[in-house]
């Protein structure tokens, strides 16, 4: 360590001036004698060298990263939900590699035990028959999915990715607090925590022997990909969708691992095979990392009220045509009461004692245990036997997960007497404390650790690090984020050099180009509409700018164009009495909504640029005055929209999704210009109307350069309708659509055009042969009709 000489001053560092362990509680930083543990010394010495004035800048670097990366979590309250900043506790938790090996070995043993238990529960039920697990407990669990009983998972394993919540007890040893087998979250967040924390302490982190995380993910990715029988069937993540609190993580992990991100409605079951609805038709999916709770996965055979699932998924699993990570029904292992049976199950099934104990648990369905809980209730947490929450977790309704923390009035006795099988007693958890930065100094806060295990071809791999949760106060129930807790990175520190491998696999053979995956129909639909909404917003803004520019110069009496503009705006649901009309914000929100459903296909910059447009528009709505002020505001909004368009145009990979987005824009643009021509050129013949048409067509400069003669109806029509070189013209937009459509799946099958390809070719030909003289009202009407038809054909062919 480079900062050896500073060690003497470490405890004198102002950061640690108030740090003190608490009696009866283990501390990560200090041992029982109040000395800094060896694993922390280097880091603490390093911290001591940081001038106090510099620390805030370092912390800000991590926060800035999280902000730029778009990391958020969704918080629910009584009214609804909102995206919140990611609550990183900047202090990592350091764990010695030797200690980590012990934890890992214990957790691998536990993962094997869980696999053995779940395969019995869905298999021969020998554990129930022999009394090692009460039959009534299994039967009462809503996570025991009867349609999955007797179904052997493809590949033979139920569990592929599990997590364990662990904590350190007062005597310094680790305890398992809960098993996470349903759809454990946090691994992606752990990665983000690592990147952010490594940025904060960049000069320390680089070159240290802290285990890196990428190797774990790479092996898991390769394992999932290896479970496919056909390489073109992309491994995918099944998410409940953007309203789920962990959606960011689902999208992030999908992007990080190169997996597809699917929702239930993206999938269909055909002939017993799970398939993705894509723009190229139904494409099989063989490996699905399920982040959706089992019960919601299939409305046909599981919870029939589920809106998130896919009818027939259970059938597909039963046919053995898909590997689900983890198998449907694995969630039953999370039941609290199971902890009561794990020690004996381990001896029975593995012939070994649990290497890492879980917190002592008594199921009150047995008379002796019920009696024990009754007698010691004052020192226990008592809660629902089948709950899957951790002992200290608060459920989403805000009520304590622990039904009765303090027994009173004999109520507890009565409940245990009447229906003991519903309850468990658990010893009260004492968590160790770890340093957290509060008001510029380090203070001890309770923490628990989530550790992730992935099954690979070489057996279970433990992620060397984890997802730590740190309490807001000394109260261990305040660990949950929704209760104000924060999260922290976990550094497993080795005394030897560590591998710094990345996600890049060593090349196994000659270079092969990865082909872009097929695009799910729902994503294509959202991209198309994102394109349309963005262009519609742009049109709205141009019209509003034109209106306010003229409003600044006069009234409807002096300038009849205002009347014309007013009508055009009204036809687009824009109420000009407000300088930033509600209709504009509405369309903008539609654009954001479409974008939010395909966030993993977007750069974070693109998403932030869009959000910025909305934020700015909302701010303008509060402050902007009609007239020049509003016109200036619209100019700002136009520039911001162009920023987004620029990102799309310059940075977005030309995959088929980009085509849909571009078709949406071109279609909307052609429609907008056609409407402008109808309103301002074909109709009134008012003074300044031609200039107005050119202005909303954003072609004033070009017109001045192209036509030295005065502006006439024909020069305007020529420029903004028929000019093949003007990117704002109708012909240009239709030609663009033609090109994009020719790249869509099925556009051309052995020279036979698809209905859509025919429709766009016809529209293009109809316009291309017109001259300004023949481009009349009837031609405009026909064009509008053609554009509408194309949208319908596209929808039918690709989005359904």
């Amino acid at each position: 360590m480079p900062f050896g000489p500073a060690r003497r001053s470490a405890l004198l560092s102002p950061l640690l001036s108030r740090y003190q362990g608490q009696p009866g509680v283990a501390d990560e930083l200090l041992d029982a004698h109040g000395n800094i543990r060896p694993v922390w010394r280097g880091f603490i010495d390093y911290l001591a060298t940081i001038p106090q004035s510099r620390l805030p800048h370092m912390l800000a670097r991590g926060d800035q990263y999280l902000h730029n990366a778009g990391v958020y979590f969704r918080q629910y309250d009584g009214q609804g939900s909102a995206e919140r900043d990611w609550p990183l506790s900047h202090m990592p938790i350091l764990i010695d590699d030797h200690e980590w090996q012990t934890i890992s070995a214990g957790l691998i043993q536990r993962a094997d035990l869980l696999e053995a238990v779940v395969s019995d529960i869905y298999g021969k039920n020998r554990l129930a028959a022999s009394g090692h697990l009460p039959a009534s407990l299994i039967a009462a669990s809503k996570e025991w999915l009867r349609p999955m009983v007797g179904v052997q998972p493809r590949g033979g394993h139920f569990l592929h990715f599990v997590a364990f919540e662990i904590g350190r007890g007062p005597d310094g040893s680790w305890w398992v607090l809960g098993d996470r087998t349903q759809a454990p979250s946090g691994a992606g967040f752990a990665l983000e925590n690592r990147v952010a924390t490594a940025k904060v302490f960049a000069d320390f982190y680089t070159g240290t022997s802290i285990h890196r995380l990428a190797g774990f993910f790479r092996r898991f990715r390769d394992t999932l990909n290896g479970m496919r029988r056909n390489d073109t069937h992309r491994a995918s993540i099944l998410t409940p969708g953007p309203m789920n609190e962990s959606y960011f993580e689902h999208a992030y992990i999908a992007r990080y691992l190169g997996f597809g991100l699917l929702e239930g409605e993206d999938l269909a079951v055909e002939e017993g095979q799970l398939k993705v609805r894509t723009v190229s038709g139904l494409v099989p999916v063989e490996v699905l990392w399920r982040r959706l709770d089992s019960n919601f996965a299939d409305p046909l055979e599981l919870d029939e009220t589920s809106q998130l699932g896919t009818a027939g998924m259970v059938h597909a699993a039963r046919q053995g045509n898909v590997t689900l990570v983890n198998a449907l029904g694995s969630g039953i292992l999370e039941s609290r009461a199971f902890l009561a049976f794990m020690p004996r199950l381990s001896e029975h099934l593995l012939g070994q004692k649990l290497a890492l104990p879980n917190i002592a648990t008594w199921w009150c369905g047995h008379p002796a245990e019920a009696e024990h809980v009754r007698r010691h209730a004052a020192h226990m947490m008592i809660g629902e036997a089948l709950s899957t929450r951790l002992p200290f977790e608060i459920d989403e309704h805000g009520a304590p997960g622990n039904l009765l923390q303090q027994p009173h009035d004999g109520l507890l006795e009565r409940m245990i007497d009447e229906d003991g099988a519903r309850f468990v007693g658990q010893e009260v958890v004492t968590l160790s404390t770890t340093p957290a930065l509060v008001d510029g100094v380090l203070v001890p806060r309770p923490m628990s650790l989530r550790v992730f295990l992935a099954r690979t071809s070489e057996g279970w791999q433990v992620m060397p690090g984890g997802y730590a949760r740190v309490g807001k106060s000394e109260d261990p129930t305040a660990i949950a984020m929704r209760r104000g807790g924060s999260v922290a990175d976990v550094w497993v520190v080795s005394d030897r050099p560590v591998s710094t491998e990345t996600m890049m696999a060593p090349p196994p053979g000659p270079f092969t180009r990865a082909l872009p995956g097929t695009l799910p129909s729902r994503a294509a639909d959202n991209l198309f509409w994102l394109g349309r909404y963005i262009e519609r917003v742009e049109g709205d803004i141009r019209l509003l700018r034109a209106y306010h520019l003229r409003l600044a110069e006069g009234t409807a009496e002096t300038n009849p164009l205002l009347e014309l503009l007013h009508d055009a705006l009204e036809a687009r649901d824009l109420d000009v009495t407000s300088p930033v009309p509600a209709g504009l914000l509405q369309t903008l929100r539609h654009a954001l909504n479409s974008a939010s459903k395909i966030r993993e296909r977007f750069s974070v910059d693109g998403w932030m640029a869009l959000q910025d447009v909305e934020k700015t528009a909302l701010r303008f709505q509060q402050s902007v005055m009609a007239g020049d002020d509003a016109a200036a505001a619209m100019r700002v909004l136009l520039r911001k929209i162009s920023g987004f368009s620029g990102l799309v145009h310059e940075n977005m990979y030309r995959f088929v999704g980009w085509r849909f987005l571009s078709i949406g824009r071109a279609l909307e643009r052609a429609t907008f210009i056609a409407a402008g021509l109808t309103a301002f050129v074909e109709g009134a013949g008012l003074d300044g109307a031609l200039e107005l048409a050119i202005e909303i067509g954003d072609s004033a400069m070009t017109h001045r350069r192209q036509y030295s003669v005065a502006m006439t109806r024909n020069t305007v029509v020529d420029l903004i309708a028929l000019d093949p070189l003007n990117p704002r013209s109708i012909l240009f937009s239709v030609k663009e659509m033609h090109e994009h459509i020719s790249y869509l799946p099925g556009a051309d099958v052995y020279g036979h055009m698809s209905p859509l390809a025919r429709a766009v070719l016809r529209a293009q030909s109809e316009i291309a042969i017109l001259t300004p003289e023949t481009f009349d009202g009837a031609a405009l009407d026909l064009l509008s009709q053609r554009l509408g038809e194309m949208s319908d054909i596209l929808t039918l062919a690709y989005f359904q």
């Binding site: 009394g131 039959a135 009534s136 039967a139 046909l300």
Partner: protein, 295 residues
């Protein structure tokens, strides 16, 4: 008794087409010693795009069928010949209600007929204080379980009016009980709720009733569509008995079992939805004819 059974369920969706997947539980099941299926088959008009026959957790016959763009009408027909006999005598030393909990606890299996599936709550059976109080008032812990079951069935038959207009397929048991009105599904759900409140394992049975009763007996309610009744576990020795609260009788040889489960959701004749642009109309017709056997 030997029966010829026919069932016809039709959906019409007017000018629109319909697509989707469904699971059907409409074929009579085998019950060793009690019910034998001699022949049965299920036809679709028009034919299903895909059809997979199977057996569910509770041993019921299922048919998983998918359709794409069915026009105007979809129709299932079942034809079956089934022999059904009486369950036979009850044990000499029946289990008293007060001793039932221990017998349940000593049962270690999770097979389809394990009593553990049928206590506590299930999707359609929730705790209901009014029904529990009603059951408590009728029950006696010192009497055999079967006597308690019959007493509750008789009480419900007496207190609840058969009324096809009062409820629909989604009505919760508590609501039907509060109105003291309903059809066989409501009688069955109410009685299951009552039995489970007393700690008696109870399940839902769907099936058919013979259309024309034996001479001199009244026609039973529920014979013109699929019927529902209750099964109750009366102890290790007595096992399961079937009872029909809608008609206030224990089940003999006039009931033909199609499916068993914890509540309606486990046995629904048709689950899953057909997506269509308009509304859909369903009709059901059942015919159960006793076949005279020459000796």
């Amino acid at each position: 008794m030997l029966y010829d059974i026919s069932l016809r369920i039709s959906y019409s969706f007017g000018e629109f087409t319909a697509s989707g997947s469904q699971i059907l539980r409409v074929l009579p099941r085998e019950l060793p010693g009690i019910q034998r299926v001699i022949a049965s088959h299920l036809d679709f008009q028009p034919r299903a795009t895909a059809r997979v026959d199977g057996i569910d957790f509770f041993g019921n016959a299922t048919v998983n069928a998918s359709y794409r763009y069915v026009q105007h009408e979809l129709c299932f027909t079942v034809h079956a010949r089934v022999r059904r006999s009486d369950a036979g005598a009850q044990p000499d030393m029946p289990t008293r209600l007060g001793a039932l909990a221990d017998e349940i606890a000593s049962y270690r299996g999770l097979d389809a007929y394990s009593p553990h599936h049928f206590i506590g709550q299930s999707q359609r059976i929730r705790r209901d204080n009014a029904i529990a109080a009603y059951a408590h008032a009728i029950s006696r812990r010192d009497l055999p379980v079967l006597e308690n079951v019959i007493a509750i069935s008789n009480a419900l038959h007496r207190d609840i009016a058969f009324d096809p207009e009062a409820t629909d397929v989604k009505t919760p048991a508590g609501v039907a009980f509060a109105h003291r009105k309903g059809v066989c599904q409501d009688f069955t759900h109410i009685m299951i709720t009552a039995l489970r409140a007393m700690g008696i394992p109870a399940g839902y049975v769907s099936g058919f009733l013979r259309t024309i009763p034996p001479e001199g007996q009244p026609r039973l309610e529920g014979a013109d569509a699929m019927h529902a009744w209750v099964m109750a576990w009366c102890g290790t020795e007595a096992g399961w008995i079937e009872i029909d609260p809608t008609n206030g009788i224990t089940v003999g040889s006039d009931h033909i079992v199609v499916a068993i489960g914890r509540d309606y959701n486990d046995v629904a004749p048709v689950s899953g939805i057909l997506k269509t642009a308009g509304s859909q109309k369903t009709e059901q017709a059942v015919d159960v004819i006793a076949v005279t056997e020459r000796t």
